[in-house]
C-alpha cells in the first residue's frame, strides 16, 4: 500500500456512518461516506480509498454486487483496496460468500465498538 489512510464507508445507517467516521478521523484517516452505491460511485471519482467498509445490506445494489464492482472494475481504483464487509448477521456463510467475491475481511458490527475500527484496519496488514 502507499501508506495513505483513505477509507470509504458505504453504510446506509447514518448514525453508524457518523460513529465510524468519528473513530477513524480521530485516528488520522481520511474518510468519505456513502449511503448507497450511487453515492459511493460519485465519491470514487475523486477518491482513491485504501480501505472500503462495505455494508452487505444496502438499498439498491446489494453489498455483494458493490463488492464485485469494486473488485472487478479498475475504473473505481479499488481493485487493490482492503475491502471489509460490515454486517450484523454474523453468519459464516455470508462471510464465506463475501470472501469468495473478493472481500478481505468481515466485521460484525454489533461485536465491535467504533473505537476499535482503527485497530482492526491496522491488524489487516499485520
Amino acid at each position: 500500500m502507499d501508506g495513505s489512510k483513505n477509507v470509504l464507508i458505504i453504510e446506509d445507517e447514518p448514525m453508524l456512518r457518523d460513529l465510524y467516521q468519528k473513530a477513524l478521523r480521530g485516528a488520522g484517516y481520511t474518510v468519505e461516506l456513502a449511503g448507497n452505491w450511487a453515492q459511493a460511485r460519485e465519491k470514487l471519482v475523486n477518491f482513491k480509498p485504501t480501505y472500503v467498509l462495505l455494508d452487505v445490506m444496502l438499498p439498491g445494489e446489494t453489498g455483494l454486487e458493490v463488492l464485485q464492482f469494486l473488485r472487478n472494475d479498475a475504473s473505481f481504483s479499488c481493485t487493490q483496496a482492503n475491502i471489509l464487509v460490515l454486517t450484523n448477521l454474523a453468519q459464516h456463510s455470508v462471510a464465506d460468500n463475501a470472501m469468495d467475491h473478493g472481500a478481505d475481511g468481515y466485521i460484525i458490527k454489533a461485536d465491535i465498538l467504533p473505537a476499535d475500527l482503527p485497530e482492526i484496519l491496522e491488524s489487516i496488514n499485520d
Binding site: 471489509l84 470472501m99 478481505d104 476499535d116
Partner: protein
C-alpha cells in the same frame, strides 16, 4: 367328478374284497381236501376196504368156530343123556332129530357094532338099524374110528344132491357111572341154511360177499351158490391165500365171476377158510361219490358264501354308503340333510354321532359367520377410520416391503407412480434423518419413534415424525406398522418463529450498536466533560447495553442451534492462554463482589485444542460469569486447566451453595435455571448452559458438573479433545481466521 369315480371304485373294491375273503375262507378247505384226495387217488379207500375185509374175514372165521363148537356142545349134551336100553334108543334119536331141524341124519354106533341111523325124509324121521360087519375096521368107518381114537369128527359131507352137510362126530360115554365107560359114538349131519349162515356170519355191505371153504376145498357156504361144488381154484390153503391174500392180508385179484375184487381169507380152527370179497369198482364208486359229495359241498359253500358276502356287503356297505354320502355332504358344508342309517348297530351310533358333529359344525359355522360379519363390519369401520386419519399409515412385512398403505400416506408420496403395495419401503419413502438415509430397525418388538425425518419430494422437502410399531413375530405378513405424522407445517412455524427471533434480534442490534457506539464516544470524552456522578451513570448505561447485546447474541445462538445453523470454525486454539485471559477479564467483575477469582494449571505446558475460539470464549464467559453470579460475596472461584494425552479439561470451582443432585441434568436444558436463582434473585435467561453444552458437544467435547466431593460449592467443567496434528490439521479452517470482531483472510506473507 374324478373324485366321485374314485370313491365309487373304492366302494366296489370293498365289496369285492369282502366277497373274495368269504370265498377264500369257504372254498379254500374244500380245494385243499380235493387236491389232497385227487393226489392220493383211491389208495386210502382201498386200504380202508382192505383192513375192513381183514376184520370181516377174521370175524367170520371166529363165528364159524363158535358155531361148530355150539354144534359139538349140543351133540354132547344130547348124547350124554342117552340111555342105552334098546327100547329107549330109537325114541331118543327121534327126539334129537325133532329138536334140531338142521340135523338131516344121525348115526349112533354102539360097542356091539349096532348102527342105528335116523334120517329125515319127506315122510318124517325114519330109524334104521344094522350091524356093522366085523371086517369093517375103524379106518373105514367114521363111527368106529371115533370109538377107537376117542376124537371128535368135524367134516363136511355131501348129501345126494351134493349139498354140504356139516358132519360132527363125538364119542359117547356113560355119564352116570364113575368109570366114564365108553358107550359108543354119535355122528350128526347138519344141513345149514342161508338164514343160519347169515345169522352166523358178520353183517356185510351189499357189495361184499363172504363164503366158507372146507379143508377139502369144497365150498361149505356161498351166498350165490345153491349147489355148492368144489372150487378148483381153492385146491389148497396156499391157493386160497394166493387168491384172497390169506390171514392178515387183503389182495386185489380176479374173482370166480371174472370180477376185479378185493379179497381176504381167514382160517378157522378146523382149517376151513372164511373168504370175503368186494368188487374194486364199488370202492371206486365210493371214491367217486366222495368226490361228488365234496364238489357238492363246495358248490353249496360257494353259493352260500356269495349270498352271505352279498348280504354282509349289503348290511355293511349300505350303512357305510349312507355314512359316506353323509360325510361327503358334511365335507361340502351341506348340513341340511342328516345321515340316515336304520341299522341298530355301531353304524347307527356312528351316524348319530356324525349328525351331532354336523349340527355342531353347522352351529359353529353359523356363529363364525356371524362373528365374521361382525368382524368385517368392525374391519370396515376400522378401515374407514384408518382411511380418514390424517397421518399416513403403512404396514410393511419383514423384508420392509409395503403390505398396506392408507390414503393419507399415498397423498404424501403423490409424486410417485402407484402401485405402492409390494414395493420396497425405501423406494417409495426415501427418508433421511440428519442427512443420512433412515435405516428402519424392525428387529425388535415394540414402538420406536423417529423425529425430524425428512422426505425429499423432488424440489420440496417434507418433515415428519415416524412411529414404528413392530409386531411380535407371529404374523409374518405384517412385521411393522409405520405412522407418519407430518411435521412440515409445525416445522415451518418453528422456523418462522426462529426467523422472527433472528430478525428481531438482528434489527435490535443496529440501534444497539449505535447506542453503544455513542456511549463509547461519550465515555472517551467523559473525563474531560462530565461530572463524576455522570460518569458513573454513563458506566451503568454501558453495562446495560452490553447485557442487552449478550442477550440478543444468546437468542441468535439459540435460533441458530434450533435451526441447525450453529457454525463452528475449528482452529488450533491455545486453551491455556484463552482461559487465563478470560479469567483476567472477569477479575474486575469478581472484585466488585469481593470474590477471589484465580487461574491455575495442573500441567506445566500450554494445552492446544481444535476448537472455535469465539464459541469457547462464550463457554468460558458463561461458566465463569455464572460462578461469579451465584457465588456469594467474598467467595472463592478457581478456574483450573488440566489435560491428559488426549483430553483437555477446564473446571470452574466455586465455594457457593452448590447444585442439588437432581437439578444437575436439567441445568443444561433450554430456559432452565436452578431454583436457587429464584431464591437469590439473580437474573438470567438460563440459556447460557444450553448454548455451552451445544457448542462443546459440536466440538466433540463434554460439559457437566463434577460429582460432589464433600467440599461444598459446585464445579462446572468442560472437556475438549487435545489437538492432534495428524487428525485435526485437516479440520482447521484453512484460509479464514476469526478475530475478535469478525473474520479475516489469513495472510501467509506480509
Amino acid at each position: 367328478m374324478g373324485e366321485e369315480k374314485k370313491q365309487s371304485s373304492y366302494r366296489r373294491k370293498v365289496s369285492t374284497r369282502v366277497l373274495s375273503y368269504f370265498l377264500a375262507i369257504a372254498v379254500l378247505p374244500v380245494i385243499i381236501v380235493s387236491v389232497i384226495l385227487t393226489n392220493a387217488g383211491t389208495e386210502p379207500l382201498l386200504k380202508s376196504a382192505a383192513s375192513n375185509q381183514q376184520r370181516l374175514s377174521s370175524d367170520g372165521a371166529r363165528q364159524v368156530d363158535r358155531y361148530i363148537d355150539s354144534l359139538i356142545s349140543q351133540l354132547e349134551l344130547s348124547a350124554s343123556q342117552f340111555s342105552l336100553a334098546p327100547d329107549q334108543l330109537e325114541p331118543q334119536l327121534k327126539n334129537l332129530m325133532s329138536n334140531n331141524t338142521d340135523l338131516q341124519k344121525v348115526e349112533f354106533l354102539t360097542l356091539d357094532r349096532t348102527l342105528r341111523t335116523a334120517t329125515r325124509g319127506s315122510d318124517g324121521i325114519r330109524i334104521a338099524s344094522s350091524t356093522l360087519p366085523s371086517s369093517d375096521n375103524s379106518s373105514n368107518n367114521q363111527g368106529l374110528s371115533l370109538m377107537d381114537n376117542e376124537r371128535q369128527l368135524i367134516d363136511v359131507s355131501r348129501d345126494v344132491n351134493n349139498r354140504p352137510l356139516i358132519t360132527i362126530g363125538i364119542s359117547v360115554y356113560d355119564s352116570t357111572s364113575t368109570t366114564n365107560r365108553l358107550l359108543g359114538s354119535i355122528i350128526g349131519y347138519y344141513q345149514t341154511t342161508d338164514e343160519t349162515w347169515k345169522s352166523i356170519l358178520p353183517e356185510l355191505d351189499s357189495d361184499e360177499k363172504m363164503y366158507v371153504v372146507d379143508t377139502d376145498n369144497q365150498l361149505v357156504y356161498h351166498p350165490d351158490e345153491t349147489t355148492l361144488t368144489i372150487r378148483n381154484d381153492f385146491s389148497t390153503v396156499e391157493s386160497v391165500r394166493s387168491f384172497a391174500g390169506g390171514e392178515g392180508e387183503t389182495k386185489q385179484t380176479i374173482s370166480a365171476e371174472k370180477q376185479d375184487v378185493l379179497a381176504n381169507a381167514s382160517l378157522t380152527d378146523v382149517g376151513w377158510s372164511v373168504i370175503v370179497e368186494q368188487p374194486v369198482s364199488s370202492v371206486n364208486g365210493a371214491y367217486m361219490s366222495f368226490i361228488l359229495t365234496a364238489i357238492t359241498v363246495a358248490i353249496v359253500m360257494v353259493v352260500s358264501t356269495v349270498l352271505a358276502s352279498i348280504l354282509f356287503t349289503w348290511r355293511i356297505a349300505s350303512p357305510v354308503k349312507s355314512l359316506l354320502d353323509g360325510i361327503r355332504r358334511l365335507s361340502k358344508n351341506d348340513y341340511s340333510q342328516p345321515i340316515d342309517v336304520k341299522t341298530n348297530d355301531e353304524f347307527r351310533e356312528m351316524s348319530e354321532t356324525l349328525n351331532g358333529l354336523g349340527a355342531n359344525i353347522s352351529t359353529y359355522i353359523n356363529s363364525l359367520q356371524a362373528n365374521n360379519s361382525n368382524l368385517s363390519f368392525g374391519q370396515s369401520q376400522l378401515q374407514s377410520i384408518i382411511n380418514s386419519v390424517n397421518d399416513g399409515i403403512i404396514a410393511i412385512n419383514a423384508r420392509q416391503e409395503i403390505v398396506s398403505i392408507n390414503p393419507s400416506a399415498t397423498r404424501i408420496v403423490n409424486h410417485v407412480e402407484p402401485p405402492f403395495v409390494g414395493r420396497p419401503l425405501s423406494e417409495i419413502f426415501p427418508w433421511t434423518i440428519d442427512g443420512r438415509p433412515l435405516n428402519l430397525d424392525i428387529g425388535y418388538s415394540g414402538t420406536k419413534s423417529y423425529e425430524g425425518v425428512v422426505l425429499a419430494k423432488g424440489e420440496s422437502v417434507q418433515y415428519m415424525n415416524l412411529i414404528v410399531q413392530v409386531n411380535e413375530r407371529e404374523d409374518e405378513s405384517v412385521a411393522a406398522i409405520i405412522t407418519m405424522h407430518d411435521q412440515t407445517a409445525t416445522r415451518e412455524l418453528d422456523f418462522m418463529k426462529l426467523d422472527f427471533v433472528a430478525i428481531a434480534a438482528h434489527e435490535l442490534r443496529t440501534p444497539l450498536t449505535v447506542i453503544s457506539g455513542y456511549l463509547d464516544v461519550i465515555n472517551r470524552e467523559a473525563i474531560h466533560s462530565l461530572s463524576t456522578e455522570n460518569i458513573e451513570d454513563l458506566q451503568n448505561a454501558i453495562i446495560g447495553t452490553q447485557q442487552l447485546r449478550e442477550l440478543i447474541n444468546k437468542l441468535l445462538n439459540i435460533a441458530r442451534i434450533e435451526r441447525g445453523d450453529m457454525e463452528i470454525f475449528l482452529d488450533k486454539l491455545n486453551l491455556t492462554q484463552m482461559t487465563a485471559t478470560n479469567v483476567e477479564q472477569h477479575q474486575q467483575i469478581a472484585a466488585q463482589k469481593r470474590q477471589v477469582l484465580s487461574f491455575t494449571s495442573s500441567i506445566n505446558h500450554n494445552v492446544y485444542v481444535p476448537a472455535d475460539p469465539a464459541s469457547i470464549t462464550e463457554v468460558l464467559n458463561n461458566l465463569i460469569g455464572n460462578a461469579i453470579k451465584y457465588t456469594p460475596d467474598g467467595g472463592q472461584i478457581r478456574v483450573n486447566i488440566t489435560a491428559t494425552s488426549d483430553e483437555a479439561r477446564v473446571e470452574v470451582i466455586d465455594n457457593g451453595p452448590g447444585i442439588p443432585e437432581e437439578l444437575r441434568e436439567k441445568l443444561f436444558s433450554k430456559f432452565y435455571r436452578a431454583e436457587r436463582s429464584m431464591i437469590t434473585g439473580t437474573r438470567g435467561t438460563g440459556l447460557g448452559l444450553f448454548i455451552s453444552k451445544t457448542v462443546i458437544e459440536l466440538q466433540r467435547g463434554t460439559i457437566g458438573i463434577s460429582p460432589d466431593q464433600g467440599r461444598g460449592g459446585s464445579a462446572f467443567y468442560f472437556t475438549l479433545p487435545v489437538y492432534l496434528p495428524e487428525r485435526d490439521d485437516a479440520l482447521v479452517t484453512q484460509n479464514v481466521s476469526r478475530g475478535r470482531h469478525g473474520w479475516f483472510k489469513k495472510r501467509t506473507n506480509n
